[in-house]
């Protein structure tokens, strides 16, 4: 067993090193467009994985992810913009004085984006998590809209519907993927821990979980807040990637896109969310051609904006109807599986982490 364990540790380190080298190399070789798509993929992986924690692992059908993302994005943007550009952009109403001269570096601002989103998570979760299933979905959806409307109307803080521009830009693969990899490691460790099993117990059978002494509400809050935290981180990263944000970006459609990643990858599989996050992001770019004017069989079809979302909606329907477990079901990638495939001797004894 120890031999296997050492091999696995070595493989983990090797994978991290190879990834680091690839990111470093990619930063200097890839075109800005390619890098942008890969960075977007990192953000979607974080979003998918964190939503999976809430929806797939804890079994709470929450649709508030875009709201928490919005909070994270605005927090990070306001904290990092220079006082000069704030003066320039807030022309409807000047920004409140206590935020005017703040100019943080982007990494602490990103983490702060997560923290503020987590605070909103607690505020929303406290009333909403007493609900279940569809009722919870409706309530969280409503809260996400409320957050968006608050952001639209607190003009002296968020600049309202005009949005924010000139957010400091960050383009390196290393930055986004470091956040992504750390998120995945944290979520993986959490899910494989005692708390992860408690989450799954609540998903499998809430009444039995309670009878085992698990405080259902406390654990739901924990899962929901962690989900909100990482949604906030992803929102902050999004702000640095596209450098201009406005409230309409964070509409329900965005949550739908994340839900697509969770369902396609498999509810209850982090590996699935990672794979689906990357595939969907790349497909999203690749499918841009369907929105351009084209000629099919001699017929001229004008470009239809939003056609991509139609394709994704159909994809979601097909997955839900015919392939409900998604790409991975509840399975995870692990080295044991790969080593077995490679025909290495298997030691049957299994530990628990």
């Amino acid at each position: 067993m120890d031999g296997r364990k050492n091999i696995k540790i070595a493989l983990n380190i090797a994978t991290l090193l190879v990834t680091a080298v690839f990111l470093y190399w990619g930063d200097s070789v890839l075109s800005p467009f390619q890098k942008r798509i890969l960075n977007l993929a990192a953000i979607f992986v974080i979003l998918g994985a964190s939503m999976n924690l809430v929806v797939g692992f804890t079994g709470m059908f929450s649709l508030g992810h875009s709201g928490f993302m919005c909070v994270g994005a605005y927090t990070a943007a306001i904290l990092t913009m220079s006082p000069e550009s704030k003066e320039l952009i807030y022309y409807m109403e000047p920004i409140v004085p206590w935020l005017k001269n703040i100019e943080w570096p982007i990494i602490p601002a990103t983490i702060m984006g997560g923290i503020i989103a987590a605070v909103f998570g607690i505020l929303v979760g406290f009333p909403a998590l007493r609900l279940r299933d569809d009722y919870l979905a409706i309530a969280t959806l409503g809260f996400a809209e409320i957050i968006r409307i608050i952001v639209t109307n607190t003009i002296s803080i968020t600049n309202g519907a005009l949005g924010l521009k000139n957010i400091p830009s960050e383009k390196s693969l290393l930055f986004y993927w470091s956040f992504c990899i750390i998120t995945i490691i944290i979520l993986k460790n959490l899910i494989n821990s005692s708390w992860g099993y408690a989450f799954k117990a609540i998903r499998d059978n809430e009444i039995a979980a309670e009878a085992m002494g698990v405080s259902v509400f406390k654990h739901k809050m924990l899962s929901f807040t962690i989900g909100a935290f990482f949604a906030g981180i992803a929102g902050a990263l999004m702000a640095f990637l596209i450098t201009s944000i406005d409230p309409t970006m964070f509409r329900f459609l965005f949550t739908f896109q994340i839900l697509l990643i969770v369902v396609l990858g498999g509810m209850g599989s982090l590996t699935g969310s990672v794979i689906a996050g990357i595939i969907i992001t790349i497909a999203m770019e690749w499918l841009r051609f369907v929105e351009r004017p084209m000629t099919i069989l001699g017929m001229d079809i004008p470009g239809i904006p939003g056609m991509r979302m139609v394709i994704f909606a159909i994809l979601l329907l097909v997955v839900v109807l015919f392939y409900r477990q998604g790409l991975m079901g509840t399975k995870e990638f692990n080295w044991d599986w790969l080593l077995d495939k490679l025909g290495l001797a298997r030691n049957r004894e299994r530990g628990i982490s």
């Binding site: 005692s194 099993y197 117990a201 059978n205 009444i207 979980a209 009878a211 002494g213 530990g351």
Partner: protein, 260 residues
């Protein structure tokens, strides 16, 4: 086994709208006893269990556990206080293995926080290893250690029932509530179950309150029996007294005579 009242319900009543599911139920259970709760379908037995374990708050009356008032306490806190239960319709965590099902009960006792777990700090690893050993030992005691790493959903019915009891035992209760543990079992399996219940009572120093329809099990194992009919307590006493009680015979339409 120490003497002394472990659970007492002081005329608890549960009303759902106009329906009185349980009316003025008074139970006194002493440490080490095996008590039966019987009655025709819909008599309010499971409702009584749900009140004791905190799923429902009684409309009226008080419940005392080891002298402490636990009326209306949250189910998870009641479990921590030392009352554990199984369910009439098996409620296992189906996406987990047998061992993981049992280990959930240790989660509550874990002296670490989520951050320790994420960072895999020694404090967490050590506590978890101890719980692992404890749970494997428990599975050995109830003879489920050979299937410890199987998925709970894949177990045969009898073993699922046994796992439910094992999972309840893992919370280290002093009072165990069994809701129809012999449901769906053949006579041979019922006999084994009776032995098993007696065995765990000795081994874990338990007091047991059970709902059961199989009269041979109830009469064979329980020291005292309470009979409910339409929520009303119609008889309390030893198995022999219950078997000869005309009101009980009436409630069961003579079924007790032919069964017992």
């Amino acid at each position: 086994m120490s003497a002394g009242k472990i659970l007492s319900t002081d005329s608890i009543t549960m009303k759902f709208g106009g329906l009185t599911a349980v009316s003025e139920l008074s139970l006194d259970i002493y440490a080490g006893e095996i008590i039966g709760l019987i009655g025709p379908n819909g008599a309010g037995k499971t409702t009584a269990f749900n009140m004791i374990t905190g799923v429902y708050e009684p409309t009226k009356g008080k419940i005392y556990f080891k002298g402490q008032d636990i009326t209306g306490m949250r189910p998870d806190l009641i479990t921590k206080a030392g009352i554990s239960r199984t369910f009439q319709n098996i409620r296992l965590f189906n996406s987990m293995t047998v061992l993981e099902n049992v280990m959930i009960s240790k989660h509550v006792r874990l002296k670490a926080n989520p951050l320790d777990a994420v960072l895999r700090l020694p404090r967490y690893i050590k506590a978890r290893r101890e719980h692992y050993e404890e749970c494997m030992e428990l599975l050995r005691q109830v003879e489920l250690d050979d299937v410890a790493h199987e998925m709970a959903a894949a177990l045969p019915y009898g073993k699922q029932r046994r796992l439910e009891i094992a999972r309840a035992l893992a919370t280290q209760p002093s009072l165990l509530l069994l809701d129809e543990p012999a449901a769906g079992m053949n006579p041979q399996e019922s006999l084994e179950l009776m032995d098993f219940i007696r065995q765990i009572r000795e081994q874990f120093n338990l007091t047991i309150l059970m709902i059961e329809h199989h009269m041979e099990v109830v009469m064979g194992i329980c020291e005292r029996i309470t009979v409910l009919d339409y929520g009303v307590t119609i008889a309390q006493g030893t198995p022999t007294e219950i078997q000869n009680n005309p009101r009980v015979i009436e409630a069961y339409l003579g079924a007790v005579e032919s069964n017992a």
